[in-house]
Symmetry: C2
């Protein structure tokens, strides 16, 4: 996003780009729903050809594809549209890295409603949707999450497994808290035949994780615990407890309560492995990570994107001896490894 | 907006920026509603100070101001926030160039609802909201438009008056079609004491225009015609007919029908002065102008952003002898002057 703030003359460009930014979201959603990128990937190039394939009007497709060209998600030569590299990899349904299904979660009414009530959330300091936002018991959004975000999480899961278990040559008993799609635990089990995973989540969500374990061929080393991580028994003697994209939903005292349970469930020498959006101490860099704080403000009662300093303190208060921060490039997220 | 499309490696960054772009709109709206920019302009710098002034929670304000910093609408040093040049000029309520009131129109449910039904609009080739979208008779959105967009239109109106009547030294009888806030006609009347303006719009909208004419001190040279530009009598002998931000709501045959009426209402040697978003023939540049086509797709049955070639043809079909295209810097819009 270009800005004129550094220039000498004031400009309303950033105001207009921002106040109209919702149009970009809706255009991308519509294009994914209509399978415009897939249609172009299949070889349809003119508005007339794409319209026929997408069962839409030629004018509507022309206007939408022009807008996608302006957004640099398509290119246009004469009256022929083509995919960019990113669009062909991430937005054509036939691509293994297709991200389109993530929109069902990322644009679910639950999340967008929270954003539409942001003024009230800022006044309150937490979600204005209802008492618990997305962290209510058995909230159906997590099934959408598990189904929609799996494609996106496959690569980070493999990167994390390589970071934490680089030699993949010894027995590991792993607890995967709020497992969702299950891909983090499954990545460890896939690269190391001596790994046994216990996945914990709501019952409906675990069905997705079990399907994924089956598909990955690790079902016989995959078991589950149904319920809330705050209520159920974890068992004990785990070498690793995975806490992926979970702590940001809660305030620090609640996180510490959970981390004490994690600490107790670990074997001596065991490690908690946390995947999070960890902003720098300034809380405004890096942008993709720091901006996640707002998602938690509008969607949860008291969640946040915590700095490493804050996470380190929570783990220390829960009894861990030390924590280290690791980047997980090319993802935006960070891994915190904490020793019992 | 940065994009990785040109790079060697595919990246999902643009996908995430776009699918989450609605968050930017909501954050700006919330900040305007809460008067965050005004609070900072008044000297409140920390989240605690701003929260107190805005009657909001400190956490909510901290998260929102961090997000505004990421969006480059604020700066942050330590825990102190400050306005950028653009924010101080356009987003502090105390500034004469304040744009915050435009959000009532730009983010009205009528317009955003159209965007949320974009898939259906692309299928149909026109708005999915109802039969007529925003162009239905007496649609209340135009009062919001007239009230909210006046601040924004003051500068373009003055630029247009200087372009069209540079010497301001002769009697001009002007018809201002779909006058809205009235500022275009009023700008001509303000710079030239021999100008008489007749403003045409829905009755409720004309109340706003008359207020503005009163404030500008030109009320005694300002008269009105209530109703639809397609139905009412224009009168005759006009030197100028202003057609500002109007043609884009309609299809070319409807535009031509209107332009024939305009042609008939002009005196010999008279000119039609059209303000429009006029994209280049490629329909994807310049971005701010070309993107307006999508706003018309989702909000009107058959509107569009027309190229100069298309506008020129409409005016020729309506009997005009010739049209010329003029930029109106620093605005994004263009002026087409057509001779009877």
């Amino acid at each position: 996003m270009s800005t004129s703030s550094a220039a000498q003359q004031p400009s309303p460009v950033l105001f207009f780009q921002t106040i109209n930014a919702h149009q970009r979201t809706e255009a991308l959603k519509a294009a994914i729903e209509l399978e415009v990128f897939t249609a172009i990937g299949e070889g349809n190039a003119t508005a007339a050809e794409i319209a026929k394939r997408c069962q839409a009007s030629e004018k509507g497709i022309r206007v939408l594809c022009d807008y996608l060209t302006i957004m640099e998600m398509l290119t246009k030569q004469g009256d022929r549209y083509a995919l960019t590299l990113d669009s062909s990899v991430f937005l054509d349904k036939r691509s293994p890295a297709y991200l389109g299904s993530a929109t069902e979660f990322l644009c679910s009414p639950m999340l967008t409603q929270g954003f539409r009530q942001m003024t009230e959330a800022v006044r309150k300091g937490g979600t204005a949707i209802d008492d618990e936002g997305t962290i209510g018991p058995d909230h159906p959004i997590w099934v959408k999450f598990a189904r929609g975000m799996a494609g996106l999480m496959s690569m980070p899961a493999q990167l994390m497994a390589k970071l934490v278990d680089p030699n993949a040559d010894r027995k590991l008993k792993i607890l995967d808290i709020a497992a969702g799609h299950g891909l983090f635990g499954i990545a460890f089990a896939t690269q190391n035949k001596q790994v046994e995973v216990t996945a914990l989540d709501w019952k409906a969500v675990l069905e997705v994780a079990k399907d994924n374990a089956e598909k990955a061929g690790v079902a016989e080393r995959y078991s589950t615990i149904e319920g809330s991580a705050f209520d159920v028994e974890f068992g004990s003697g785990y070498d690793l407890v995975l806490v992926t994209n979970f702590l940001h939903h809660f305030d620090p005292p609640t996180c510490e309560k959970l981390l004490k349970k994690v600490h107790a469930a670990l074997a001596d020498g065991g490690r908690a492995v946390t995947l999070e959006f960890v902003p720098n101490d300034d809380r405004v860099t890096p942008p993709e990570v720091a901006g996640f704080s707002l998602v938690m403000l509008v969607g949860t009662p008291s969640g946040d994107a915590y700095t490493f300093r804050e996470l380190e303190q929570m783990f220390a208060n829960a009894g861990f001896s030390g924590s280290t921060l690791h980047e997980l490039p090319p993802t935006f997220q960070q891994v915190v490894i904490s020793e019992k």
